[in-house]
Amino acid sequence: MGAFDFGAITRALPYLWDGMQLSLLLTGLSAAGSIVLGTILALMRLSGIKPLQWIGATWVNFFRSLPLLLVIFWFYFLVPLIAQRQVDAFQSALVGFVLFEAAYYCEIMRSGIQSISRGQAWAGYALGLRYSQTMRFIVLPQAFRNMLPVLLTQTIILFQDTSLVFVVGLADFMTSAVTVAQRDGRLMELYIFAAAVYFLMCYGASLYVKFLQKKMHQ
């Protein structure tokens, strides 16, 4: 089998970096989209309007009972069919991630909104703000701020989840590592390298989250 060949990694670095950029782009866009959608779902769940509550709850329970991998396959298969044209794997993966992760972000935002006392909303209404304004200027900013550590933790998970686009051949960091590994016959080097990179990024980010939590609690 031979010794660990660092050259196999250094030679592949530019290619792997391209993959990492795609991973980060997919993470960023998915997080942004699913936080917005998740917040809307959370507001629906808390609206007190039966049909909206039902839609929100069903969405959350449905997607949380499915493996992300299945959702990725679904949208890889569905989006081109619905769009009636070739759609590149990035777009269908993005759609899948947003709809799927929104279920998880929804629950975070829901508990964030519930953590804001009723009095805050009352104070907004009493000043003549409408529901939408009270949510936008008073409740949501506070919920978002209180939940920031949890939202970031979920985004770290989302970053790890993006590695699953490997199954539809989208050239993210994971797929790039696998491609090089198989091409050069250097499985050990590249998989351990991939693990190390993911570990350092995720562990580093989780340390930052811990620091943030400490700072918030003074």
Binding site: S117, G119, Q120, W122, A123, Y125, A126, L127, G128, L129, R130, Q133, F137, I138, P141, Q142, R145
Partner: protein
């Protein structure tokens, strides 16, 4: 100005308000008191529609609060409200707290809102505190900012729900003084409070509530002179000999 007629309200099977009727004239100061859980907060929240009620009519300046067609946000923007726990927005500075609704509800310009805010902060004695966040202010200061925030909307009436009961004793007077001055300037006020000293000095009328009912509704002198109901007498003796 504020007219409350035969209001009944239930929380599920539990009746919180029982046939409440009263009125507040322009420029009048009405103090509401009564034991805990008697429905004082609920009644005052019905006046600006924060709590819906099932039966009866409440009108403010002739506009019916319970009417589905009423533009509640607009109506509320004319009625200031001050809460027991201040309810300043913790993610905004004092000045931003005061500016928010001026900008978003009244459509004032930034400059206008800031100038008005500065004036009101001066008036409540906090001219230099505009840049501070609520967590950096004492309870009494927070409550005065909350009053300034309500006044910034140029309200035609003010509702106070136990504005001093979350305060340390040494801060109570700084808030009561601001309120007394407001009353002197002719503001119409409904004040839920247990501060009987304030009631004696400032109130025109006193309403006593118990178990959701308005038991007494009398002028200040009548109320403190010869309260007619036994329940009010008991309540007063408890509060005064404390």
């Amino acid at each position: 100005m504020i007219e409350i007629q035969h209001v009944n309200k239930w929380f599920g099977p539990f009746q919180v308000l029982k046939d409440c009727t009263s009125r507040v004239e322009k420029g009048e100061v009405v103090v509401i008191c009564g034991p805990s859980g008697s429905g004082k907060s609920t009644l005052i929240k019905c006046v600006n529609g924060l709590e819906p009620f099932q039966e009866g009519i409440i009108t403010v300046n002739g506009i019916s609060v319970g009417d589905k067609a009423t533009n509640l946000p607009k109506l509320r923007s004319h009625i200031g409200m001050v809460f027991q726990n201040f309810e300043l927005f913790p993610h905004k500075t004092a000045a931003e707290n005061i500016a928010l609704a001026q900008l978003k509800v009244l459509g004032r310009s930034e400059d206008e809102a800031r100038a008005r805010g500065k004036l009101l902060l001066d008036r409540v004695g906090l001219g230099e505190m505009g840049h501070k966040y609520p967590s950096e202010l004492s309870g009494g200061q927070q409550q005065r900012v909350a009053i300034a925030r309500a006044l910034a909307m140029d309200p035609i009436a003010m509702l106070f729900d136990e504005p001093t009961s979350a305060l340390d004793p040494e801060m109570i007077n700084e808030v009561l003084d601001v309120m007394q001055e407001l009353a002197r300037d002719g503001m119409t006020m409904m004040v839920v409070t247990h501060e009987m000293g304030f009631a004696r000095r400032v109130a025109d009328r006193v309403i006593f509530m118990d178990e959701g009912e308005i038991v007494e509704d009398a002028t200040k002198d009548e109320f403190f002179g010869t309260p007619r109901s036994e329940r009010a007498q008991q309540f007063l003796s408890k509060i005064l000999h404390h």
